[in-house]
Symmetry: C2
Subunit: 458 residues, 2 copies
C-alpha cells in the first residue's frame, strides 16, 4: 500500500463519505474493459469540482503518491490500472454540463459527463456531439485516450472537437488551455498535448467542445458483399471519390455471426458495410447514397437495406455498438483482446487481407470490424486470460498486425491509446519520439506521480 | 556578432556558396512583412536537406549560437527577426514535393515549398491544398505559426491538415512525428505541439499534409451591405445554420476603398462579403448559395455578383489577397500593424462594432477585414514606424482590441501567432500557461538556442 495513513486521513477530512477503500470498489477501479491483469488503487475518491481534484493532487504531490484518473472504465489498454497503487480519482460525480451555447455551437462539460448523457441533454438544443467510440465513455476519458469512433470519417476525432480544457497538474495547479475562439495561435498547443496523454501530464476536469447542428436529413443503410475484399474496396473508392459519408463500418462474416446471435436482426452472415449519410436535405442524402450504391454494385454488393426512421437507425447502431459484447458471446466467459491498427486507405485492403489469413489459421477466434473510412480496424481476439498460451497467441497475432501496419505506413493505435498494453508497440513505431515524450513528462511531472507506468517507462 | 569565426568556418566547409554574410542578404532576413524593428542574423545558410539542417543545428548547439528558421518571410509578428543574432536557416531551397498519393489524399513536402507552388504542382492530380493565408507563405512557415486563412471555416487550419512532421531538434537530432495514418493515439501529440511553436522547439523540415479532392462545382460571389453590422450578422446566421460555406470574407468600406483603388474591379465602396461555395454538384452549390442569398436579403444585402469561371474567381480572390498591399497604398510609404483577434461567433458583431468605433475616432487609418466565419478579423493600422506616436497609437488600439476579445471569450491571435510582437498579449490571455510552455521549452531546448526571444521570455 503506497498511501500512508496520514494521506488517507487528510483525504478523509475533505471527502468523508465520497471515498472508499472497500475491496469491491478498488476492484471495480482496477481495470478497464480489456484482458489486462487488473491492478487496484489503494483508495478511490470521488471529487465533485476542479478545486477538489486540485486538493487531491496537492496532497498526493506532498506525499509523493501516485494518482490515477478514472472515467467510465471503458478503456482497452489498461489505462486505469493502478500499477503502483495510490489514489484513484473517479470523476464520475463531475457530471454536469456547465454551458451549452447554441449560437456558438459549443459547450463546456465536466470530465465525468458520458457521451450518451451529453447527446441526450443536447437534444432540445438542435445540436449534437457526434463523436462515438461505441462504449458510453466519459468525455474526459475520450480526451485522455484521444478517442474517435464511427463518425470520425466525417466529423474528426476528439482532437478536432475540443476547443479548450481545464487541467489539474501534478502539483495541484489548475490551468486552462485553449478557449472558446474557433481557432487560436496563442503559443504552444497545450490542449492537443493534453489530449491523448492518458492522465500522465495532468487530470482533465472540464472540456469545451465543438458541437454540430443536427443534420436535417439522416439515413443509414447496410449492404452485404460476397467477399471481405469487395466490402473494403467499396469504402476505399468512396473515400477516394470524396463522398462525405458520416459513418462507414465494416464487419466481417465472423462479426456478423456474432451480431446476429446477439441482436437477431436478420442480417445475412456475410461481410457487411453499415453506412450513415448526413445532409442538409433529403436530396443531398439521396445523392450521397446513390453514389455509394453505384460503387457497391460495382463490387458485387447486394441491395441496400435502409434504416431511415430514428427507431430503425437506433436499432442498427445499437447492434453495431454492442459488437464488443456480442463478440464475447462467441465464447462465453472469455475476455477480448482488441487490436487497433490504422493504415493509409490505399493499404487497407492488403492489411485486412493478410490479417484475415492470420486469423483464419489461428486457434483463437478474432472477428474483424472497424471504422474503415479512416483506415482503422479492430480484431477482437477472444481468450481466457487464465491461459498463458492464449495470451501468447493473441500477442503473436497482434505483434504481426502491428508490424504489418507499420510497414504499410500506419500506426499501432488509431484510437485506443497506449496504456500499458502497447508500450512496446509505441517504442517500435516512434522510438525516436519516446525520449522527447519523456522529457516533456519529466518537465511537467518530475516525480512521475500521474498515472505511472503508462505510455512509456519513465 | 554572436557567430564565431570557427563556427563560420565550419558552416563554410559544408555550405560554401550556399551561405552569406552580405548586408543585403542579412537585411532581407531581418524581418517579416510587419512594422516590427528588424534584427539581422549574422549569417544566412541555405540547406537543401534535413541532414544539412541537422548539421547546422549540431554546430550551433556546440557553439551555443542562436538558430532562426526562415521560410518565405511573410509572418506578421516579427517571428523571423534574429533578436540575438546567430544563424538564419533559410529553407527556401528545401522546395521539393517529395510525394503525392492521390489514392490516400496526402502528400509530403519540404518546408520551403510555398502554398502557390504546391497548389500549382497538384493541379494534374485532381487534388488540392485549400489552406490559404493570403500571402504565398511556405508550408513550413504556416506550420510554425499555426496559420489558417480564408478557407479555414470549411477545411480547418494547418493544425487540422498536418498528418506528420520531420523536425530537427536543437541538438541536431531528427525526429519524425505522426505518420500517414488518418488518425493515431500513439503517445503525446508532438505533431501538434510543434505546430504553432514558431521554431522555438525545433526546425520543421518536412510536412505530411492532408489534401482535398478538387470540388466538382465551385462558385464565388460578392454581396454589398448597407451597414457593417448587416454584413456581420449575415455571416453569423449562415454559420449558425450550418451552411458549409468554403469562404466567407468581410471587408469594411475602408477596405473596399483600398481594394478598388488597387484592383479597379468596380465593386461598390460598401461593407462587402466575399463568399465561395464548394460542392459535389452544381445543385449542391446552388442550394448553399440560395440559402446564403436568403439570409443576406433579410439583412438588406444587395444582389450577388457571381464569379463562376476560374478566371473570374481567380480575379476576385487575387484582389482579396492583395488587400494587405492595397491597404498600404492608402498611405504610401507606410507599414501595416495587423491585428488578429478571434472571438466566438456570437460575440463577433459586438467586437467588430466597438473596434470600428475605436478606429473611427483614431487618427490612424485602420481598414477592417477578416475570415469572419471563424470569428477572426484583422485591422490593418497604417503607420510610419519612424513616428513613435503612431506606433503608440496602434499599440493603444490593439491593446484595447485584445482586451475586448479576451473579455468576449476570444484570443489575441487567431492565426498570426505571437512572435515577439504579442508576448504581452499571450501573458494576458494565458498567464497560467506560460510557465508550462517555458517548462516544455527548457526540456527540449535547455540553452534557448532555437529562435530566442519569441512567444515568451525564457
Amino acid at each position: 500500500m503506497t498511501v500512508t495513513a496520514e494521506l488517507l486521513g487528510s483525504l478523509g477530512g475533505i471527502f468523508a463519505d465520497r471515498m472508499s477503500v472497500a475491496d469491491a470498489v478498488r476492484e471495480h477501479h482496477s481495470h478497464g474493459e480489456s484482458y489486462h491483469p487488473p491492478a487496484p488503487p489503494d483508495v478511490v475518491v470521488y471529487p465533485k469540482t476542479t478545486e477538489e481534484v486540485s486538493a487531491i493532487a496537492r496532497l498526493c504531490s506532498a506525499h509523493r503518491t501516485p494518482m490515477v484518473p478514472f472515467g467510465a472504465g471503458t478503456s482497452l489498454e489498461g489505462h486505469v490500472s493502478a500499477l503502483a497503487g495510490g489514489v484513484c480519482i473517479d470523476l464520475s460525480e463531475m457530471n454536469r454540463i456547465l454551458r451549452v451555447s447554441p449560437e456558438d455551437l459549443d459547450a463546456t462539460v465536466e470530465a465525468g459527463v458520458t457521451r450518451k448523457q451529453l447527446t441526450e441533454e443536447l437534444k432540445a438544443s438542435g445540436l449534437t456531439f457526434f463523436l462515438d467510440p461505441g462504449a458510453d465513455a466519459s468525455i474526459g476519458g475520450m480526451v485522455a485516450t484521444g478517442a474517435s469512433g464511427t463518425t470520425a470519417v466525417r466529423y474528426g476525432t476528439i482532437r478536432d472537437n475540443v476547443l479548450g480544457l481545464t487541467v489539474v497538474l501534478a502539483t495541484g495547479e489548475v490551468i486552462r488551455t485553449g478557449g472558446r475562439a474557433r481557432k487560436s495561435s496563442a503559443g504552444y498547443d497545450l490542449t492537443r498535448l493534453m489530449i491523448g496523454s492518458e492522465g500522465t501530464l495532468g487530470i482533465v476536469t472540464e472540456i469545451t467542445l465543438k458541437l454540430q447542428p443536427l443534420p436535417d436529413a439522416i439515413s443509414a443503410a447496410s449492404c452485404s458483399f460476397p467477399t471481405l475484399a469487395a466490402a473494403v474496396d467499396t469504402v476505399i473508392a468512396a473515400i477516394q471519390l470524396g463522398i462525405p459519408v458520416a459513418r462507414a463500418e465494416l464487419l466481417d462474416e465472423r462479426s456478423m455471426d456474432a451480431l446476429e446471435r446477439f441482436s437477431k436482426l436478420g442480417y445475412p452472415i456475410q461481410p457487411t458495410l453499415f453506412f450513415e449519410f448526413h445532409g442538409a436535405s433529403d436530396a443531398s442524402v439521396a445523392e450521397q447514397a446513390q453514389a455509394m450504391k453505384e460503387i457497391a454494385a460495382e463490387q458485387g454488393g447486394g441491395d441496400f437495406r435502409w434504416a431511415t426512421t430514428l427507431e430503425e437507425r437506433t436499432k442498427l447502431w445499437h447492434a453495431r455498438h454492442e459488437m464488443a459484447n456480442a463478440s464475447l458471446m462467441l465464447r462465453p466467459g472469455c475476455k477480448g483482446w482488441a487490436t487497433d491498427v490504422c493504415v493509409p486507405i490505399s493499404k487497407l485492403a492488403e492489411c485486412i487481407r493478410e490479417t484475415r489469413i492470420d486469423n483464419d489459421s489461428s486457434p483463437l477466434i478474432g472477428p474483424i470490424l472497424g471504422h474503415v473510412g479512416d483506415g482503422n480496424f479492430h480484431c477482437i481476439y477472444l481468450l481466457d486470460p487464465a491461459r498463458p498460451e492464449e495470451i501468447a497467441e493473441a500477442k503473436r497475432l497482434n505483434d504481426r498486425l502491428v508490424d504489418r501496419a507499420l510497414a504499410l505506413g500506419g500506426t499501432c493505435t488509431g484510437e485506443h491509446g497506449i496504456g500499458y498494453g502497447k508500450m512496446a508497440s509505441l517504442a517500435k513505431e516512434h522510438g525516436d519520439l519516446v525520449p522527447v515524450m519523456r522529457a516533456i513528462k519529466r518537465a511537467l511531472d518530475p516525480d512521475g506521480l500521474l498515472n505511472p507506468g503508462k505510455i512509456f517507462p519513465m
